[in-house]
Symmetry: C2
Subunit: 284 residues, 2 copies
């Protein structure tokens, strides 16, 4: 496995392979890799000739009061996981390689970025859209792999690709969960044992929402209440939002008539957890 | 020559040729082609295997009070000029091909866009940056050709390419002028004969600035005055701005010590004319 740190070396590697007809898959990450990332890498391995994992903790997507400085950076373990999974290139650029002096052109996400995570984290999705556009430019993958756990991000990236004609196929892979249902996340390592026991309640709440829909409840407000009740069973969780949304626009659905996505976010101590479930009407 | 109107057909054409190693040059235009465009096309023909001219009057770069509706659209003459110059593809997308329903992700130009044209035309350069990024995504040229006449635009496009890692080489070609020095522009056709006689005074003013510098005047304010005096000789011209700037940052230079760009804009009736000159110290 090659570790590449410079933008020009990354681009040269990609362009050379692509002239030879090699299909490149990119798994963009902020490192602190877990089995969720591992599943993205495996998916990329199966469908592409060469796999690039990018590892860049992108300051532009952290708010001023967020955990950019504290974000975990276990580089050796990340590189070991990538090597284990047969990754061809670990692209771990420096800050200057991504944002050189004079950098000033950014991507602005649209209406999709205003709700949910975007409302709580101003500028977050512009930061995501900008760095994803840049990574796509540097690596020029034919396919890129994102986790469904960050559902709003995955919708937004698909929109970005379409709107700016980036020509990358975006594959969204199912959320990987612990045995108790908790969605894997790089930040889970910060949960205390007691918090860790409470954390799966978010997934349980979303499942209650799904059950309600599958039992015939169609009004968004009723489904919301079914989910909220589950969150309220654990006083450690403070509800941020729970919503039944259109999976493309992410607008709340007053009434569920077709596929919906249940979005949830809670606070647990200093941490925020997010999760989601897609509910297809007429099937599981 | 092929005329392509759909985004998917454009992309398919480009991708196919590029798999065969063909180097594609793009000349982005808003149509109403003149000899300035012709010189860009010829430059592209000389250095690329295939030439695409895009023709799209981009609403996003017009202000609400600007001339989007009135902008000239002589499609047949434009297509004839392209055919004459050996253009391979005239890409003339519909509004929906560029901005389909749901479009929402845009590019934001940075500090470079705030001064001069950007200050007078809010949103203009975000519109330019967005459509250029999109055209680059649709056509995926290796090289793109822009005219120096829109100097601020050309600097901004170079910044866009670098900042979003678009991987396109940007070639800026010299301004083509009438015999009296007036820079060619699609909007010149709206000048009355009397205005047309006054229009070259803008170029004369910039030349006076250049002469001043070459004669040893170094203070920006003095050079500004030398240029302003020329504008004042013609009461038809209303000065918008004249400035001696750093050619990369476009910030005004209090003192000229190396290459400078002289930027100018005047109003003439309902029209605005812009022009510029690069002055290299120690050379022509």
């Amino acid at each position: 496995m090659r570790i590449i740190r410079s933008a020009t070396a990354m681009t040269a590697w990609s362009r050379k392979l692509q002239r030879e007809g090699v299909v490149i898959g990119l798994v963009p990450t902020m490192g602190a890799l877990h089995d969720g990332h591992r599943s993205l890498i495996r998916k990329a391995r199966l469908s592409c000739d060469a796999v690039v994992v990018s590892l860049f903790v992108n300051p532009a997507q952290f708010g001023p009061k967020e955990d950019f400085a504290r974000y975990p950076r276990p580089f050796k373990a990340d590189a070991a996981l990538c090597r284990e999974e047969g990754v061809d290139v670990l692209f771990a650029p420096s800050h200057e390689a991504v944002y050189p002096p004079g950098f000033q052109t950014t991507v602005s996400a649209g209406a999709l970025a205003r709700r949910w995570e975007g409302a709580r984290r101003p500028g977050h999705f512009d930061g995501v859209a900008t760095v994803v556009a840049k990574l796509f430019g540097l690596v020029t993958p034919q396919v890129a792999f994102f986790g469904q756990k960050d559902f709003q991000q995955s919708v937004l990236v698909q929109r970005l690709v379409e709107d700016l004609n980036l020509g990358v196929r975006v594959v969204v892979c199912p959320t990987v969960r612990g045995e108790d249902g908790l969605a894997l996340s790089s930040r889970n390592r910060y949960l205390t044992p007691a918090q860790r026991r409470s954390a799966p309640v978010l997934h349980e709440a979303l499942q209650a929402g799904r059950t309600a829909i599958l039992r015939g409840i169609r009004f968004g407000a009723q489904i919301d209440r079914a989910m909220q009740k589950v969150i309220q069973t654990d006083p450690k969780l403070r509800l941020d939002y729970l919503a039944v949304c259109d999976p493309e626009t992410l607008e709340p659905l007053p009434r569920v008539t077709k596929t919906a996505v249940l979005l949830g976010a809670v606070r647990l101590g200093r941490l925020r957890l997010i999760d989601n479930l897609i509910v297809r009407l007429g099937g599981k």
